[in-house]
Symmetry: C2
Subunit: 190 residues, 2 copies
């Protein structure tokens, strides 16, 4: 683990060749590129769900596309990503944190945890992808570990636990975040 | 099959007890209620994806929720529904038609067909739910049948083929459209 002294180096990659391609990329962008790579190479079919919007008012100007003029963001009832890999249902939430010592649960909604529990119950693979932006490290962590922590009353997981229990995702050019390699490891453990 | 002479009787249910609950319900509403029933009874975890929206302008009024003031509908890149049932990945598109003799493919986008092919390739269960509103009949049809028809150059599937090759979904009160019963039949056939 490399603890960069300041946030300006966020996104710097250890592999010099990959440097420019990764600089300033958000986790969501990296996952979108990765999912496109998986899709076009017939490795998996995984998508980010659209942001849920409550539409209030729509104008229908002549000869033009319908224009939404009043709408509001809704709380998502599930996680952001799901799909299929080697016949298995995958479901996950992706989170970034600038915190260097822990991943705090404040942005995980109760219904998302209920959703992940349900996915596990039905035989799916539920996990989190957590990026520690200060270290430019991205981990894949079984959702069960977060569920267990929440059940025990914890409000966060320490970086050390995630480093020990999670799988560090290899960053590269194509794919940018090869998280299915970590899924292979997770499946072998079960 | 009962061919009602006029559309006013659309939504009329053969079971008198279920009549009022089903009248005027759209296929989407029926599926939403059904998916909630499946979720709360731990039968399956299946959701409709939010409508994809291109957000252009957002206002942030003080003390109020962020308000989207300019946005446009985007073409969906996948299907409307997906989820997990008995460890299996399910993916489908739901369509209603008033046509009494055929289901026309005009509203099925090319990338949706590519998506369903990909789902089948990865071992998922891909299908259509098609409602003939004139008859108040809802069918579950393997996506492979639609894919094969499109590959052969067809622009539609006849009602008779869907009636023969599809599975008529039982309508009721809870769940309204028990389409997983048809999935059980589909799985047993494979």
């Amino acid at each position: 683990m490399i603890n960069y002294p300041n946030q300006k180096k966020e996104g710097t990659n250890n592999n010099k060749n990959d440097n420019s391609s990764n600089r300033g990329m958000s986790l969501e962008q990296d996952l979108d590129y990765t999912n496109k790579y998986y899709l076009h190479h017939n490795i998996a079919n995984i998508h980010k769900k659209p942001t849920p919007i409550q539409i209030v008012k729509v104008d229908y100007p002549k000869r033009q596309a319908a224009k939404i003029t009043e709408a509001y963001f809704k709380l998502p009832s599930t996680t952001d990503y799901n799909g299929i890999y080697q016949g298995k249902y995958l479901d996950f939430e992706a989170k970034e944190t600038r915190n260097k010592t822990k991943f705090i649960f404040t942005n995980i909604h109760k219904h998302q945890i209920e959703h992940l529990k349900s996915v596990i119950y039905h035989g799916g693979i539920a996990f989190f992808i957590i990026k520690f932006t200060s270290f430019n490290e991205v981990y894949l962590l079984s959702a069960q570990i977060v569920i267990d922590a929440i059940n025990s009353g914890a409000k966060s997981l320490s970086y050390d636990i995630i480093n020990a229990e999670g799988f560090l995702i290899k960053q590269g050019y194509q794919p940018r975040l090869d998280y299915l390699k970590a899924i292979d490891q997770l499946i072998n453990l079960r």
